[in-house]
Symmetry: C2
Subunit: 511 residues, 2 copies
């Protein structure tokens, strides 16, 4: 079925993937591994291929789809613009003195949590393991120039996670808790597969989430907490998206607590060896059915099939699954052109704005002070931090996020300026021990050509209402995947798996 | 300076342009003229070229820039994806029985008005003429199933244009008038070159315009009128954009009345022979410096210059002006990639949604009934109409717009269904004489590959605040033009001219 012309360099890359998939060692998963590095000299895939299904994008969604189809006996090719797999997941080798051999941190998506059944099952099927995000000790809240350490101060028998809110401003915290419960209740009225059909959809999509805050959260403390929650979950500002989108996203994850909590929430656990291993392992199983360095420029449909092509390659198939974010899918040239609603939908789902920053220290010194490394702050650019040390704590790694407006403003600084701004924040929260990191690691997904923002696509006000139906609807032989199309855990690795598997099922039924 | 390889077919096209520019006749301006038709068999531009400045996009902005630079003695090439010039302006030959030879209608942008000084000057320089939009007789308002004809009932010595509002619901009309004055006053506080620096910018960009309506316009009649104004000016819904964007746009045009009025407003006059003649005449002056059928896929910058290239051509230049809408500019591949703010800005300025529909009748029969052909209606899909007959009234042409949600919904219908929906509206407004048009002409700019929506790009809430500065800021050798970048008459042909001339001045200073 396949007509292959694989250049020698690509074979080497794939061989790397296979070795990695066999568990050759964590060191190879870092940024310096063959698959994780974009080599400017790599010419990329060339030649002509054919298969039952072409899949665009070798992130978790595309690879999940390919794996499902391959398991069902269908021939597939996955074409990936980058010289690596993993999409918005990417391991980075930590080489600071003292770090155990093979130590990595993720510079992209990294956490999994309860009810993320599909990604957890996939992790298990691939022979990977998880471990708990470090969560022992006290949280820290920095507000109005003051620090407050706090823990699980109140009983929470229903595991609502409400105690995660800092009690620095009790009135604000109580108001934020009330708002969270209110949002959870409203979210239950949003049908996951068609949010625009909710009884209040028109009203909810006609206002920004900021307007909802203005109308429902009255104290500065409460507003600050809810704003921080939105920034950290969506990496946009409350003014950038609609109440309906926030409610859909909450519904997609179950509750807002699920989104913001560490233990028991979306930040519950990490993958041993790094989350990119999920994709590396799937790619290893797929072997030379994954074509790297293959940016797709055109998707042409005709009566008998579809051709996916780039400057030096083409894949002829019966169906195609496009598993990249909508705004990236918009940059492919389609023939025939996409329907009006589909194209205009892609114009209305921008990516969030985030820079992930990490400092490596000789040890996780904050633990000695009784801190779990998790900070909420009213002072940027880093307003959210986590302990991101490796399981063996051979080094201590503090992780910070510059999100929404902070990330946008920080994108105009130099790397040195961002490093200093990060250290300033870390010192503010954890003292002078944070002043001299062994290493500084940063990743702006806004500056990744094939993603152009993280964590995911976020609908602008009004977009769900008039364009939501175009998000998942196939266009002829073209099917859409990617976490933005997921109904459950939209925006997360779990949503990516679900979207890939759903697309695979839909396509398999047509073959 | 130029190294040319022009294929013979392109030369023929250009010769057509030159002939047209010399005023060969109106018939040649129609859709069947060489320049106005996309010929699928045309291979497009091939070869290598070099010039001081490469300009991407042969709409009014790009051609205005080219013309300025050429007049200053700079060498230029304008590369255009389509096989015609004019961008969002396009003449269409009316061939219905009785139509005078050379009769056209515009199926894209068409009107000019007072204070649009730059496009009016250009029209004059090019030897073109204007004529008044037909405005004699009564307006018609259709509301709650009732029709009301009305004229200039009240004195309007200050020419505020307030009498344009239908008096069907006097309370609603009064409330809408109050809202319009309120918006005009707020708009005066928006700096045209930096809307995000307005004192209230954060509050105004944090709410949708729908929220402002909900808070400031209390009667259904008033809400209906303000909503119709937004739909007809922006071709989006009030929920799709922010109060700040609406205020910027008003400020850019002077007043909201300027935007919505016919006589004395943005719909005041038309170009004899059609608005595409502006571009056709400029292209004729530029001759073989306009390269058609040349979709730009890459813009590569290096130390010594910039290369603009497509599949079969390249233009090497010292500077480049990209004169296409932001969302279309995003689909070009840049090396180095665009800065984070610039790319994410393009993700947040979607195009409006509109289908322009026109019916041709043996004569403008509504004039006999004392109507000027202009309707406002609470019943779609056509809620706004105009008399778009040619100056000699050899046929009568009714023009209607399906805008915002109406346009989006109508995009999923067949052309026959849209034709019937249009006729149903026209019959509702003007009676059974409208039931049997000689011809039906429709144009959905959402379905034009190189535009993907009209009238223009509209900022989502929050976009001006965090991304506004990236709208006009050059990126190395790349300069931005197009009506979306204009400070005055943004979104109009006049803004396009201004943006092109401003970019030309900026670039000329660097050569």
């Amino acid at each position: 079925m396949s007509e292959e012309t694989i250049n020698p360099k690509r074979r080497t890359l794939l061989k790397g993937a296979l070795t990695l998939g066999a568990g050759a060692g964590l060191a190879a998963c870092g940024r310096s591994s063959p698959l994780a590095t974009a080599d400017a000299a790599t010419p990329g895939t060339s030649g002509s291929y054919s298969a039952d299904v072409a899949i665009v994008g070798a992130g978790i969604a595309g690879l999940s789809a390919a794996r499902r189809l391959a398991a069902a006996g269908k021939s597939v090719y996955v074409v990936e613009a980058r010289d690596r797999v993993g999409g918005r997941t990417l391991n980075h080798a930590v080489t600071a003195p003292g770090a155990s051999p093979g130590t990595i941190v993720e510079i992209g998506g990294q956490w999994v949590g309860p009810t993320q059944d599909r990604v957890l099952a996939l992790i298990d099927e691939l022979g990977l393991k998880t471990f708990k995000t470090y969560d022992d000790g006290n949280y820290l809240d920095y507000r109005n120039g003051q620090k407050l350490a706090y823990g699980h101060l109140l009983p929470d028998p229903l595991n609502l996670g409400l105690n995660r809110l800092p009690p620095t401003d009790p009135v604000g915290a109580a108001e934020a808790e009330k708002a969270i419960l209110q949002l959870d209740q409203m979210a239950q009225q949003v049908p996951l597969d068609a949010p625009w059909t909710a009884a209040s959809a028109k009203a909810w999509d006609s206002m920004t989430f900021q307007t909802w805050i203005d109308q429902n959260v009255l104290t500065p403390g409460g507003q600050s907490l809810i704003t921080l929650a939105i920034e950290s979950v969506f990496s946009v500002e409350p003014r950038d998206t609609s109440l309906l989108h926030v409610l859909f996203y909450i519904a997609s994850a179950g509750t807002l607590e699920n989104l913001i909590n560490t233990a028991g929430g979306a930040q519950d656990s990490r993958v041993v060896g790094g989350s990119q291993r999920i994709s590396l392992a799937m790619a290893a199983q797929l072997g030379n059915r994954v074509l790297l360095g293959a940016p797709v420029t055109h998707i042409d449909q005709d009566e008998s099939g579809v051709t996916v092509r780039g400057e030096q390659f083409s894949v002829r198939a019966r169906q195609v699954i496009v598993a990249v974010p909508p705004t990236i899918a918009a940059r492919i040239r389609y023939n025939p052109i996409l329907p009006a609603l589909r194209d205009q939908m892609t114009q209305r789902m921008p990516m969030g704005s985030v820079i992930k920053v990490q400092c490596v220290y000789p040890k996780p010194f904050w633990r000695d002070g009784g801190y779990n490394g998790q900070v909420t702050s009213d002072t940027g650019p880093v307003r959210i931090t986590f302990d991101n040390s490796p399981p063996d704590a051979s080094v201590g790694i503090l992780l910070g996020f510059m999100e929404g407006s902070d990330g946008r403003a920080a994108s105009t600084l130099t790397a040195d300026q961002r490093r200093q701004a990060t250290i300033d924040c870390f010192v503010r929260y954890f003292g002078n021990d944070a002043a001299q990191p062994l290493d500084y690691i940063e990743q702006s997904w806004m500056n990744e050509e094939w993603t152009r923002g993280c964590y995911g696509g976020v609908f602008a006000p009004g977009a769900w209402l008039d364009f939501g139906a175009a998000l998942r609807a196939p266009v002829g032989r073209i099917h859409w995947a990617g976490t933005e199309t997921a109904t459950v855990w939209n925006g997360y690795m779990d949503g990516a798996v679900r979207s890939g598997e759903a697309a695979a099922s839909a396509v398999a039924a047509l073959l």
